[in-house]
């Protein structure tokens, strides 16, 4: 028997054959094992709520999860949109849920809403980035990792009764490729039944004509295909939220009490809250998580890695491993770095040489100037010396002449004086004598 079995094995057909079992083996407990493992691990679910301030996001969360998440009322006068994540640990039966509710605070308040969508997109991308980084680590602990990627985005539409607001359209277009969008009509107790029908048709029409991809409940799983298909036709859900309880009949139900009647949150005639809870939490929560991981996250990862230069296969269509590509990139990067360093160093050396030459030039020029000035000075000095000598000579000559003239003068005077005395002495007899010139 063993030999023939072995033969059969060696000529095994490429496709696995389905065999029937002779008895109960027990691997039908695999799903249970999986379930008990995941129950021990706990689940995490992240919801992003986008809508105008005061539209009822916090109230709806409280109503959905039947508890009171402490949130403070936001003001209308925030300058920009900021995202506020808050994580809560919930437990039901023996299942632990790590629920993170992220609110886009200040959305829709500003006068200029051109950039309102950006903080939201950035936040979603940042969560993807964190997960990607964890995935790329050498030592990673993905089973332990607190997954913060947004699994569902509840987009709250204002119940104007006409159509979507322009901001809604712009924002949803930016988000539809990054997150599962579930549009809901908030504060639906202000729209009557007929208006609601028209409003829903108008909204879906606008979404389709503008190519916005909203989350469709999956219809491939037989167990839930039918109910999901029915629910898909009711999108977007018109919800009313309330944490207050009102007595209706002999029961206390969550409702809103108006002077003209009581709107019961869980009455399917009044609003689609029950449908939303069913779809979001009871039926499709796991599918939302899966879609986020397999579709939105993969798309992000694909784009990001492409950006970095990775490819799935090179020219020879040999599959590249991430490691090889990474190494190649790293080498390239380092060589690039070295080259740049060399360049910079070369440039620096050149500059130094240049400056040196310049300085030398200037030194030489300065030297020349100095010499030139010196010569000029010498010239001047010489000239001045000459002039001085001339002057001295002239002064000497003048002095001599002066002395001579003086001497002559004094002689003449002396002579005249002598003559006079002679005249007086010789009496008046020689009056007519010749005067001595």
């Amino acid at each position: 028997m063993a030999a023939t079995d072995l033969e059969r094995f060696s000529n095994a057909e490429p496709e696995p054959r389905s065999l029937s079992l002779g008895g109960h083996v027990g691997f039908d407990s695999l799903p249970d094992q999986l379930v008990s493992k995941s129950v021990t691990q706990g689940f995490s679910f992240n919801i992003l709520c986008v809508g105008e301030t005061g539209i009822g996001k916090s109230t709806l969360m409280n109503t959905l999860f039947n508890t009171t998440f402490e949130t403070e009322e936001a003001s209308h006068h925030e300058a920009c949109v900021c995202l506020r994540p808050q994580t809560y640990d919930l437990q039901e039966s023996n299942v632990q849920l790590k629920l993170t509710i992220v609110e886009a605070v200040g959305f829709g308040n500003q006068i200029n809403k051109d950039e309102s969508y950006r903080p939201i997109v950035d936040y979603i991308d940042a969560q993807f980035e964190n997960y990607l980084q964890e995935e790329l680590k050498i030592r990673r602990s993905l089973f332990d990792y607190h997954d913060t990627r947004i699994h569902a985005c509840l987009y709250f539409i204002t119940p104007t009764g006409h159509s979507l607001k322009s901001l809604d359209l712009v924002t949803m277009k930016k988000l539809d490729s990054k997150v599962n969008i579930i549009p809901i009509i908030a504060k639906a107790d202000t729209i009557s039944k007929s208006e609601l029908h028209k409003f829903k048709i108008k909204i879906m029409g606008e979404l389709v004509s503008n190519g916005v991809q909203i989350y469709q409940f999956p219809t491939d799983d037989e167990a839930v295909a039918e109910i999901n298909a029915v629910m898909n036709a009711h999108l977007p859900f018109a919800v009313v939220g309330s944490t207050e309880e009102v007595k209706v009949g002999n029961k206390l139900v969550r409702a809103r009490q108006y002077p003209w009647g009581v709107v019961q949150v869980e009455n399917e005639n009044h609003c689609d809250f029950v449908k939303l809870r069913e779809m979001l939490i009871r039926v499709n929560m796991e599918d939302l998580r899966e879609q986020t991981h397999s579709r939105h996250y993969e798309l992000y990862r694909h784009c990001k890695l492409e950006e970095m230069g990775f490819q799935d296969s090179d020219g020879d269509s040999q599959p590249f491993s991430l490691q090889e590509t990474y190494e190649a990139k790293r080498k390239e990067f380092l060589s690039e770095l070295q080259r740049k360093e060399e360049e910079m160093r070369q440039m620096f050396v050149n500059k130094v040489k240049e400056t040196e030459l310049e300085l030398k030039e200037e030194e030489r020029e300065l030297h020349e100037k100095f010499e030139h000035l010196k010569r000029v000075y010498q010239e001047e000095k010489r000239k001045v010396e000459e002039k001085r000598r001339e002057l001295e000579e002239e002064t000497n000559a003048f002095n001599l002449r002066k002395a001579a003239v003086e001497a002559l003068q004094s002689q003449a005077l002396h002579a005249t004086l002598q003559q006079f005395i002679f005249f007086r002495a010789s009496g008046w007899s020689s009056i007519y004598s010749v005067t001595i010139p």
Binding site: E52, T53, G54, I55, G56, E73, A74, S75, H76, H77, N109, Q110, I111, N112, K113, D114, S116, T158, P159, T160, G161, H162, S163, L164, K165, S166, L167, D168, L169, V170, A186, K187, D189, T190, S192, K193, E206, S209, N210, R256, Q257, Y258, P259, W260, G261, V262, V263, Q264, N269, H270
Partner: protein, 354 residues
């Protein structure tokens, strides 16, 4: 006795009747502006207030078209009559306000429109032929505040601050059927606080005289305490408790528009139409228009003293504060005039003598 009383009776007590007769003959006009984001029920409310459908063939834009929409000003004028009194009602609509993604200064077309109407009236009033002046000035602006928020939004504050010195603003909380009574109270308080905080001057109801009867005073007090009015409008008539009423039909009940316990629609209608319509017109004429006129004249005179070549739109321009140079000129001219007059007199005398 009756004859005695008759002799003392002068008869001017019939003046109010005469005024009444003349005004009925002349007819009234009223211009109402409605402003607020799309989808807050403005057209429905106007329909409910005046019980006529002014918006039969209007086209609503889709979300895509509204991304960069500009604000338009649309006027609808209708002539309606009730018990012999004719009213020429003009509703000024502002489609596109607050609908675009970037709404910076989206109230500018509206302030320009209001100013234009003032300017038009100013020119007409200063013209030579004033028999048939058309008064297109906006007498009242109903501003719709969204009930889905926690109070005023930046665009609401911006609009009201741009217009509160030009037009009577009556703020309303729209689509109030999404708020339970406690929420309405909280929201009204919040809005009143924010109006004070941002320094917005909304239309104030005039104080009633101290000699009015208690009932009237009580009504007046209630009116003032209910502002801003939380209104609901409806285009349809439904059957409730065996009666046909104007209202909205929900699976959980029927909202009656004219039920004071449901909303403040009746208060708004009484205030706007039945008691305060004329006061709104008076405040527009006496306060807003006069402010505009004074401002305009001041600007013109300051411009004129700088640039005398500018053409003034009105023939005679009184200078409020003549400066020294002009005074001197005036005095000189006066002197010259006097001298010439004297000369003329003398010449006349001479002629007479001859």
């Amino acid at each position: 006795d009756k004859q005695d009383i008759d002799k003392q009776y002068v008869g001017f007590a019939t003046l109010p009747n005469q005024v009444h007769r003349k005004s009925v003959k002349k007819g009234f006009d009223f211009t109402l502006m409605v402003a607020g984001e799309s989808g807050l029920g403005k057209s429905t409310l106007v329909h409910s207030l005046f019980l006529t459908d002014l918006y039969k063939d209007r086209k609503l834009l889709s979300a895509e078209e509204r991304i960069s929409q500009t604000v338009e000003i649309l006027k609808h004028t209708v002539d309606i009559e009730e018990k012999g009194v004719k009213l020429k009602l003009t509703i000024v609509d502002t489609p596109g306000f607050g609908d675009a993604v970037n709404n910076t200064e989206c109230w500018k077309p509206i302030t320009d429109y209001v100013d234009q109407q003032f300017e038009q009236y100013f020119r007409d009033e200063s013209g030579l032929n004033r028999k048939n002046i058309q008064d297109n000035r906006v007498h009242c602006c109903l501003y719709f505040i969204s009930p889905f928020g926690h109070g005023l939004r930046p665009v609401d504050v911006g609009f009201m601050k741009a217009l509160h010195e030009k037009v009577n603003i009556v703020p309303l909380i729209a689509k109030a059927d999404c708020l339970v009574p406690s929420e309405i109270r909280k929201l009204k308080e919040r809005i009143r606080e924010e109006i004070d905080k941002f320094g917005i001057h909304v239309y104030q109801f005039p104080e009633c005289d101290s000699d009015e009867d208690e009932d009237f005073k009580q009504q007046d007090r209630e009116l003032k305490e209910s502002a801003p009015f939380a209104v609901i409008g409806s285009n349809t008539v439904v059957e409730a408790k065996g009666q046909r009423v104007r209202g909205r039909l929900y699976p959980w009940g029927i909202v009656e528009v004219e039920n004071q316990a449901h909303c403040d629609f009746v208060k708004l209608r009484n205030m706007l139409i039945r008691t305060h319509m004329h006061d709104l017109k008076d405040v527009t004429c006496d306060v807003h228009y006069e402010n505009y006129r004074a401002h305009c004249i001041q600007q013109m005179t300051s411009k004129l003293t700088q640039d005398s070549r500018m053409e003034s739109p009105i023939p005679i321009l009184p200078l409020p504060t003549p400066d020294a140079e002009t005074e001197k000129l005036i005095r000189m001219k006066d002197e010259e005039l006097r001298r010439m007059q004297e000369m003329l007199q003398r010449m006349k005398q001479q002629m007479q003598d001859q």
